[in-house]
Amino acid sequence: MEATGLTSDFQRRAPNRFLRAVIGNRKAAAGALILFVVAFAAAFPGLIAPDDPQAIIYAQNAGPSSAHLLGTTQLGQDVFSQLVWSTRLTLLVTVIVSAIATFISMIVGVTAAYVGGITDRVLTVLTDVFLILPVLPLLILLAAYLSPGITSLVIVLTITSWAFQARQLRSQGLSLRNRDFLVAARARGERSIYIILVEIVPTMTSLLAASFLALAVFEVGFAASLQFLGLGNSSQLMWGTMLYNAQQAAALESGNALWALAPGIAVAFLGAGFALTNYAFDEIGNPALRPVRRRRGRAAA
């Protein structure tokens, strides 16, 4: 059977080709490298920074030295070690929120597309409303009612960000609606919930991954912004709370600029990692957006 031989060959090679596409794409490679570095710091912070990040045992407001690569805080904590140990919660919150928000947007989008009718209209309006409501003001408002901490952060970020991808997942769901395999599933008498979760969702894996990455880019920034405004728990080590503490101590103006700049650079670094990966993902998934090789000698446009 020539045809099946081809398919299995294709399937066998698919992950391989994907891997090659990632490595061949410079943006993807840079993004993946950044994410790897951050994940490593989150998993083994002690290997990189053996100092206790919370211990108040060093000279106060010290400049950078070989003992304290980024100096010390106003209280006398090691800034480098705070930076490294903050990676864990920062990455964890970003990943959890992006995963839950992607899941909700998937359920809303696919249900709207598959069930159709009045359900579709209600869910679409709900999505549009959440897209228009200004995110940061809503975040601040919600945060005012909850005690500051990781759980509150995850809850408010999820509530305000699920709508971003729901629309896109709905249109993908619509395009699948009348495919043969779904008609067959309906003819078998499967329930809607089974069809959505077992038949439709697995075909959307790459789109879901792209949604996850796109959300992660913004969650990193939103989480840090909220904490920077003082709506976090400043005793939990995250880059946003470091920024808040540094800002409260007027670190920039009082000659301890690294304390404020280092966590800012870290936030931008992680955001860029997700953004580069996402950007490359778009290019791999959508050939129309791939950079065109410029042909020499082509008539000037």
Binding site: L131, I132, V135, Y145, S225, F228, A268, L276
Partner: protein, 323 residues
């Protein structure tokens, strides 16, 4: 017309949703935050306090549904309650509005023009040097949190070089007037916060504009225009860009909420006394009525802009009229 009717319906539903969010949040959140906050209110006249109690569900013995309609009536007649100091929320907002309007308005227009132009040019010379560098660079920059850009600018221009002021809207000593020196003072103070917002938001428009342009350039009428021997600039701007910009208008308005959010952080960072700074102080003071009023105000601002963009799209693009 069906297009406009649908958009107008969305306007009303979203407005209603924002009003309802304000009514529901104090009731579903754990703890007695609203009660604790209202207990601290002093010098507030009894009628205003009663309106707040209805909005926040404190000390009300009536049915929730009755409260809800009373609350909606209060909002629709312009009674948005009072702040912790007893000042009407609305007058507190309008007194700070000009600073934010100036800052966000000017920077958004500048960012939109820069982003759109880069999108047009990079699509026109697709695969060229500009296309290879600027769109990805602006995209990456647009993912950097705005406060970090602000911090960097403060560090460079205020702390290291001492060229520009650290914060505030004008020098403490000067009195507002229409003199040239005062206007320069205001511009001087708005430069860094404005630049931070432009840097971060310009990238938001580049991609949608570039991708719209790429599809538009492939259209027959663009080929015809070229075949007629029109100048390259004319084809690019009058034929392709003019049509490609249409879908971007609504996107422009939708992003306003994001820009306003960025402005909150920037106003806090620069102690710039606009609505964002007011929101920040309201949140540190736990002034819930002021926060809810501001949230409502932001929503209405975004909604009005979305509606204006829809009207413009309907006027400029005949395809939307019979869609």
């Amino acid at each position: 017309m069906r297009y406009l009717a649908r958009r107008a319906a969305l306007f009303l539903v979203t407005l209603w949703a924002a009003l309802t969010v304000n009514f529901v949040i104090p009731r579903v959140m754990p703890g007695n935050e609203a009660q604790a906050v209202l207990a601290t209110f002093r010098n507030v006249n009894p009628a205003a306090l009663h309106a707040l109690e209805i909005e926040f569900g404190v000390n009300v013995r009536q049915n929730v549904v009755v409260s809800y309609f009373e609350y909606l009536k209060n909002c629709l007649t312009g009674h948005f309650g009072v702040t912790a100091q007893g000042v009407p929320v609305l007058s507190e907002i309008t007194s700070k509005l000009p600073w934010t309007l100036g800052l966000v308005g000017v920077t958004t227009v500048i960012a939109f023009v820069i982003g759109t132009l880069v999108g047009i040019l990079s699509a026109w010379r697709r695969g060229g040097r500009l296309d290879a560098i600027l769109p990805p660079a602006l995209f990456i920059v647009s993912t950097i949190p705005v406060f970090f850009v602000g911090l960097l600018l403060i560090y460079l221009f205020s702390v290291k070089l001492s060229w520009l002021p650290l914060g505030s809207n004008y020098d403490i000593g000067s009195t507002p007037s229409l003199s040239l020196s005062f206007i320069w003072d205001v511009v001087d103070h708005a430069l860094l916060p404005g630049l931070s917002l432009v840097i971060v938001t310009a990238g938001l428009w580049v991609y949608s504009m570039r991708n719209n342009m790429i599809t538009t350039i492939a259209e027959d009428y663009v080929k015809t225009a070229r075949a007629k021997g029109l100048s390259s600039w004319r084809v690019m701007l009058d034929y392709a860009a003019r049509n490609a910009i249409l879908p971007n208008l609504t996107g422009f308005a939708m992003q306003l909420g994001y820009v306003l959010g960025g402005a909150i952080v920037i106003e806090y960072l620069f102690s710039y006394p606009g609505l964002g700074y007011l929101f920040y102080t309201a949140s540190t003071d736990h002034d819930l009525p002021l926060m809810q009023g501001l949230f409502l105000f932001y929503t209405v601002a975004v909604l009005v802009c979305v509606l204006l963009a829809d009207l413009a799209t309907a006027a400029l693009d005949p395809r939307t009229r019979d869609a």
